[in-house]
């Protein structure tokens, strides 16, 4: 018996190791869609006036968040939440200081889209990641999978929704632009095609190499994003995570995709299992 078992396990281990090696090679990360639009945020220009936060609420019908310490007077969301798709945060360390705008990054290879079991979140028109409530089961896997902690859930509702920035798709479709970009008095957040924005970002950091960190965040990070960042302080300090060029979505897809490619392996395994069981039952070993 133990011989049987050992060969079986050894075979399984070898197959698994071979599979794992193959996995790494296949499945290249996707390119941005050809019609991809996005935004460019320039931390050196932002003065933290939060005009964009107010405009975002108006454009999306979201009510203000007024914590107790504001006596209900100030719209002061501490971060993204189920009423807040856009927020300005402050980073300060000694003399170094910067604001940072946070909203959905509209990733090129989004974790949330890879996660969502029912395609409620998908990259739709212009590569914008939107949410479809007719499909969403409320499993919150998108929250687990988003590296930027963007999707929010309506915890206090019996019929909860997922809330996140959809790049004001409704405005873009009418020929407009995202509300936050339209109102920014400093041009710290601008709208455009991803191509244009990337070129503009590179132009800015080349023009003032002493001011900018020599990198456009989102060009490649986690597979790239459609919202890009340039800054005078290191991006990690602004809360933008250090991600490889291949995001978790690509890594997971290569494992899942290899195991289930064309559904061949499961069907083959089923056939083998059924065959072995029939043979064994005939020989009288495992009668039901």
């Amino acid at each position: 018996m133990s011989v049987d078992r050992r060969t079986f396990l050894k075979g399984a281990a070898v197959a698994a190791a071979a599979g794992a090696a193959e996995v790494q090679a296949a499945h290249p990360a996707p390119e941005p869609p050809s019609d991809a639009v996005g935004m460019l945020y320039d931390a050196t220009l932002c003065i933290g006036c939060k005009t964009c936060v107010v405009a975002c609420r108006e454009a999306n019908g979201l009510k203000p968040v007024t914590p107790d310490w504001t006596d209900g007077l100030w719209d002061a969301p501490p971060g993204l939440d189920e009423h807040t798709k856009n927020v300005i945060e402050l980073y300060r360390e000694g003399d170094e200081q910067s604001y940072v705008k946070r909203q959905c990054m509209h990733c090129v290879d989004p974790g949330c889209v890879a996660a969502c079991p029912v395609k409620a979140l998908e990259k739709r028109k212009f590569g914008i990641v939107t949410w479809d409530g007719d499909r969403c089961i409320g499993c919150r896997y998108c929250q687990v999978a988003c590296p930027y902690e963007v999707p929010k859930f309506e915890w206090e509702s019996p019929v909860p929704k997922i809330v996140k920035c959809e790049l004001c798709l409704h405005r873009i479709e009418e020929g407009g632009q995202p509300a936050c970009c339209e109102v920014c008095p400093r041009g710290a957040i601008i709208y455009g095609t991803r191509k244009e924005l990337l070129a503009e970002a590179k132009r800015r950091i080349a023009a003032k190499p002493d001011l900018y960190v020599q990198k456009v965040y989102g060009e490649h990070d986690g597979g790239g994003t459609q919202v890009l960042y340039v800054s005078h302080v290191p991006f990690e300090k602004l809360g933008l995570p250090v991600l490889g060029e291949r995001g978790a979505a690509a890594a997971t897809r290569s494992v899942q995709g290899t195991i289930y490619k064309g559904f061949v392996a499961p069907v083959a395994l089923y056939a083998i299992l059924a065959g072995v069981i029939i043979r064994n039952r005939r020989s009288g070993g495992g009668e039901a």
Partner: protein, 393 residues
């Protein structure tokens, strides 16, 4: 009646213990009304940083692994052709059917938009075939059906033995049908857990940098698969011990001792894979650093302990040793899963999660349903092998 033929335990259903379980269920039922009326935030400590908590990590991820007894024994009996383990099949399938059904219920409780959950099977155009969670959802739904079909001969046998002529015939007929389709159903019962138990590991790969690198690895599916098989054997031994003590059934110590040999192999394989993974990915430095390193070693100790305890064939025949090792095995697998889904998941310093009292009570209610259903079914249906028959009880 042969010693190995399943027979109902018989006896009275109502007992103080069962009443206690009923009380827990009632309490959980009230809390659930609240949860569905006021939303998840009203009863849970979940938040946007920790969107998954006790119900997913314990009820679903640990719960289905504890329900892998049917899977693990079926591998032995039907694939490795060890017919001698056959008496273990039916009780294992029962705990699996109950475990999976209740895990399914826990998912319904946990998801926010459950009305869309039920539409998944009929809306294939919405399936994201790259999502490990879709794979889990479909396989778990299908496996619940398969498990109850695998258990249905218990019902047909009850009919056959009922003494009522028409019923007995019906039972005979259905048993005939089962005999014809059994191989194909059993094969599904092996395929589906292989798929979704591994996918339950893949699920957490998508957590990316938020899941500590000692846990986040492309090996997750394999580690989850191997450890669930170990837990399956552990649970069979555990269940034999408990039902032996409570219902006076034979413990099959000799058989379980042999079975625990399989557990040693599985545990060894898990440990080899786990270490090989850390070495290959070049993460050795993380093994001696911080609290996560300690957590890792705690898991390793929990997996290694039962292996060492059972290494010696002689000690395996000592029932208390066997029982202790099985319990440790279950704990090891449970802690590994809990860590992967919660403890090693680090969404950021501003977030914290500890299950609320209500969450814990609802989980207790789910477990109570499982135990109560088990008691009722083994008392009335032929599930447990040997011992007293229904008539003599």
């Amino acid at each position: 009646m042969s010693h190995d033929t399943p027979a109902p335990v018989g006896g009275r259903i109502v007992s103080p213990f069962l009443s206690g379980l009923l009380g827990l269920m009632a309490l959980a039922g009230l809390l659930l009304l609240w949860r569905f009326a006021a939303g998840l935030g009203a009863v849970t400590a979940l938040n946007d940083g920790y969107p998954w908590g006790l119900w997913i990590a314990f009820d679903v991820v640990v719960g289905t692994a504890l329900a892998c007894g049917g899977y693990a024994v079926a591998i032995l009996v039907y694939i490795l052709n060890r017919g001698e383990y056959h008496p273990l099949v039916r009780p294992a399938v029962l705990t699996s059917a109950l475990g999976y059904t209740l895990a399914g219920a826990a998912i319904v409780i946990d998801v926010g938009r459950y009305w869309n959950l039920f539409l998944i099977p009929v809306r294939p155009w919405t399936w994201n075939l790259h999502s490990p969670l879709l794979e889990v959802a479909l396989c778990v739904m299908a496996y619940i059906v398969v498990l109850w079909i695998e258990l249905s001969p218990a019902l047909f046998e009850k009919w056959r033995a009922s003494g009522d002529e028409a019923r007995a015939q019906k039972g005979e007929r259905w048993l005939g049908v089962w005999g014809k389709i059994a191989a194909f159903v059993i094969a599904l019962g092996l395929l589906l857990p292989t798929m979704h138990q591994s996918s339950l590991g893949t699920v957490m790969m998508l957590a990316g940098h938020k899941l500590h690198p000692l846990w986040n690895t492309p090996m997750l599916p394999l580690l989850f698969l191997v450890s669930c098989i170990g837990m399956g054997y552990g649970v069979v031994i555990f269940e034999s011990a408990v039902s032996g003590a409570v219902f006076g059934r034979p413990r099959h110590t000799a058989m379980l001792a042999k079975l625990s040999g399989a557990m040693v192999v599985v545990l060894g394989l898990y440990l080899v894979l786990r270490f090989a993974d850390v070495v290959i990915r070049g993460k050795l430095g993380l093994l001696f650093r911080d609290g996560y390193s300690l957590l890792f070693w705690l898991e390793i100790a929990l997996f290694a302990a039962p292996m060492v305890m059972l290494m010696d064939a002689g000690r395996r025949r000592n029932f208390p040793t066997l029982f202790r090792a099985a319990t440790l095995m279950l704990l090891a697998g449970a802690v590994y899963r809990f860590d992967t889904y919660l403890v090693a998941f680090r969404p950021g310093a501003q977030w914290a999660y500890f299950p609320s009292l209500w969450e814990i009570l609802i989980t207790a209610g789910v477990v109570a349903v499982e135990i109560a259903a088990y008691i009722v079914i083994v008392k009335r249906f032929p599930v447990l092998a040997g011992g007293r028959s229904a008539e003599s009880a």
